[in-house]
């Protein structure tokens, strides 16, 4: 016989909330940081993806001045360096450090280097900036592109 609760109550919802709360606490203290994970505060964060013809690098760099960004490729190493002035986004005339309640956004100089697969062609690179993400598209060498092999039936 189903019991009539009057309204639908999920008995596991509270556990779920508890788990979330614990996860959040663990994240704050971080006793165990996996060696492969990026340290908190790394700037910029980078993701790399691959299509049949290209390697795509997504550099998460919100609010940077493109004039101060230096992106270069050497062999299969892509490096990005530059400077970000986080206080520029405040849009105040003069920034006084004592007026900050919280300062979590990265500010200052940075350099990062990532190694890309050997199959890239460093001469065919395009980069664009949109919504705070620098997207770098690097073509693969023609001879390194995956080819489909037709299986013939005898």
């Amino acid at each position: 016989m189903p019991i009539n609760w009057g309204f639908w109550m999920d008995p596991f919802r509270e556990f779920d909330r508890l788990q979330q709360e614990l996860d959040r606490l663990m994240e704050m203290t971080r006793p165990f940081v996996p060696i492969r994970s990026v340290a908190t505060g790394t700037f910029p964060v980078i993701n790399i993806g691959e299509t049949n013809d290209n390697i795509l690098v997504y550099i998460f760099a919100p609010g940077v001045d493109l004039e101060k960004i230096d992106l270069s490729i050497e062999g299969n190493l892509l490096s990005i360096s530059g400077e970000r002035d986080a206080s520029k986004a405040l849009k105040v005339e003069k920034v006084e450090p004592e007026r900050f309640y919280r300062q979590e956004r990265f500010s200052g100089r940075f350099t990062r280097v990532v190694s890309l697969p050997e199959s890239i062609d460093p001469n065919q690179v395009e980069a664009s900036y949109q919504n705070g993400i620098i997207k770098v598209k690097i073509a693969k060498k023609e001879e390194k592109k995956p080819r489909r092999i037709q299986v013939k039936a005898n």
């Binding site: 189903p2 299509t51 986080a86 900050f100 697969p117 705070g132």
Partner: protein, 131 residues
């Protein structure tokens, strides 16, 4: 009777929403006070003006954003430091701000929110008279 009970359970299963949703990312923020109010800047790379949602409910400021233009199916990930596509953060706001005049703007992945102070809460300059 037994058959009826299993049926009942099955329908309940469907009712349970997808509770195990991916936890949204927490954007880093700068909070800065000026005489006229408070400026909050949040880094939300990948979020466009259309996909950002700033709302105030009672005394809580909620910031939500969704990464626009995610790579399509044809892109297979090789390396990822950032996973997730949503941002969320909330702040409790004191009574000294005029919540009807909050301004928000989005530029190159940075969200800037300005919370103006209520007129009576603004600092006043006190003139010191020389006797």
């Amino acid at each position: 009777m037994a058959e009826q009970e299993t049926k009942e359970l099955a329908t309940r299963e469907e009712k349970v929403p997808a509770a195990r949703k991916e936890r949204p990312m927490v954007p880093p923020v700068d909070i800065y006070e000026i005489a006229e109010g408070l400026i909050v800047v949040a880094d939300m790379p990948g979020v466009s003006k259309e996909k950002v949602d700033v709302r105030i409910e009672e005394n809580v400021l909620e910031i939500r954003g969704e990464i626009d233009d995610l790579p399509g199916e044809e892109v297979s990930p090789l390396y990822a430091e950032l996973t997730g596509k949503e941002y969320y953060r909330a702040f409790t706001i004191g009574p000294e701000f005029d919540l009807d005049k909050v301004e928000a703007s989005m530029e190159a992945g940075c969200l800037r929110i300005f919370l103006p102070k209520v007129e009576s809460e603004k600092p006043r300059k006190i003139e010191i008279k020389v006797a």
